[in-house]
């Protein structure tokens, strides 16, 4: 099974043998790879009971819960790495969630779809409608993505919070691209953060 490009990148960057919390872990694809290839002690948090069920069936330790509410239950620095993939934009308050992430994990990975990707801009400019794309495939009224964010917005939030960016990686068309003009060119971004 091949991981989505942003998850594959994270899998590559997580050190061997660490403790990882994967928030919004879905069916546990990333956790499974991390466990097998990087020998990490991986835990997950997932809101959908059917996905939790599938994780449990593959022998993963996953708690059903709502990241907006339940991250507060985890102790400080409980994990070496906290991962938030494709979930930031669904949070009630992404800024609070970022705080929780960096409280629970010494290092955090955040991946999110970049709403300033040029195709989105063109779509909005030309059609005058909220873009529906491969990575944001759902119409505005039913999307779980309630806080659309761009690479630039995210950088400004990090700066305002004094969060250290240890690295960032960008993706378009399923492939990694360079960081130049990322806010135009990237469909997806992955940030490694610490306090």
């Amino acid at each position: 099974m091949s991981l989505r490009a942003d998850l594959a990148k994270i899998a590559q960057l997580v050190p061997d043998g660490v403790r990882v919390l994967d928030i919004g872990c879905g069916e546990g694809e990333l956790m499974d790879v991390l466990r097998r290839e990087r020998h990490v002690d991986a835990r997950g948090l997932e809101i959908d009971p059917e996905l939790v069920e599938r994780c449990v069936s593959r022998g993963l330790s996953v708690v059903q819960g709502d990241a907006d509410r339940d991250l507060a239950d985890y102790p400080d620095a409980a994990f070496d790495v906290a991962i938030l993939s494709q979930t930031l934009q669904t949070a009630q308050r992404p800024d609070y969630m970022l705080d929780q992430l960096l409280r629970i994990g010494r290092t955090a990975f955040v991946s999110f779809p970049n709403f300033a990707y040029w195709k989105m801009r063109v779509s909005l400019l030309v059609l005058g409608r909220m873009p529906v794309t491969r990575h944001l495939p759902v119409s505005w009224y039913e999307t779980a993505n309630i806080h659309h964010v761009t690479v630039e917005d995210f950088r400004l939030l990090l700066a305002a919070k004094g969060v250290t960016v240890e690295g960032c990686w960008f993706f378009a068309g399923g492939r990694e691209i360079g960081g130049a003009n990322a806010n135009w060119r990237a469909e997806h971004a992955v940030f490694r953060l610490s306090r």
Partner: protein, 367 residues
Amino acid sequence: MAAAISTDLQMITLTAPLALDSGKVLAEVRVAYDTYGELAADKSNAILIFHALTGDQFVARTHPVTGKPGWWERMVGPGLPIDTDRFHVICANVIGGCMGSTGPASLAEDGQPYAMRFPVITVRDMVRAQMALLDQLGIERLHAVVGGSMGGMLALVLAAHWPDRAARVLAIATTARHSAQNIAFHEVGRQAIMADPDWQGGDYYAGGKGPDKGLSVARMAAHITYLSEAGLTDKFGRRLQDRDAKSFGFDADFQVESYLRHQGIAFTSRFDANSYLYITRAMDYFDLAEEHGGRLAEAFAGATARFCVISFDTDWLYPTAESRAIVHALNAVAAPVSFVELSAPHGHDSFLLDVPALDRVVKGFIE
């Protein structure tokens, strides 16, 4: 009163007296149990199932008293989620119970039934007796322990106090402590039993008559707590029982009344009223965090097992918040824990009924 139990139950007598949490000691403790599936030569494939308040060791075997199917036949058996083709399943009657293990109906040293002279026991005492059983069976480490409701409490106690004895702990529809509401419902049941003149201070074993009316009312009250309001409405609504109009009397006009009366009466044929008093008391005393100043996480400080906690969205007896408190505590000590709240219409009893998602989670976790 409960019919005499046939004496051919599988049981052992513990080789040592059992020291209880109360400070008292029970001599000559018998533990009745049932087993399914073959024990592997290295004894590594044993799963211990803990039964609920009114359950017993007949998990997947026709009940010797009622002739009804085992209480978890849909879960335990060849090719089922707890697969007896692969696992050796053990289930023991709790001490204080009435299906062969030492309880208030057992004979004390003076040859008379203990009745209310039986010491008050705790959930930990129940587990202690079963750990002694495992010692005598030569099983050191279980592949898993599994329990629903009170059985889940036993599973949590095992994880807290005998952390090396199980590799997996599966706790379903349960709690780490009895709430005021839980205690209150149990107290209604106990008072119903003790208010029955046939209870006779518990000394009813000699005569032919026990507190069947009181025990029946206790069961009726408890049974309501095992179901959901929507479940009751769905099953009975306001439908009348075998009649076209209300009787303007106090017969069981409504189907739900008839059903509860039947449940109550049927229960008295298989359960001892004093056992009901002792086991409900043990559950009410249960608070895993109590000896840690209320900090549940500390109870699990030495836990080595993988955990799976399951709740049901319609269970108002041990609601999801109770399971979340357990998960929270396990997370705090970095224990590997999975948790899922399943959607099922049957209330607390969902763990015994047809919930396919439960089967999948149990199977997935046990594998």
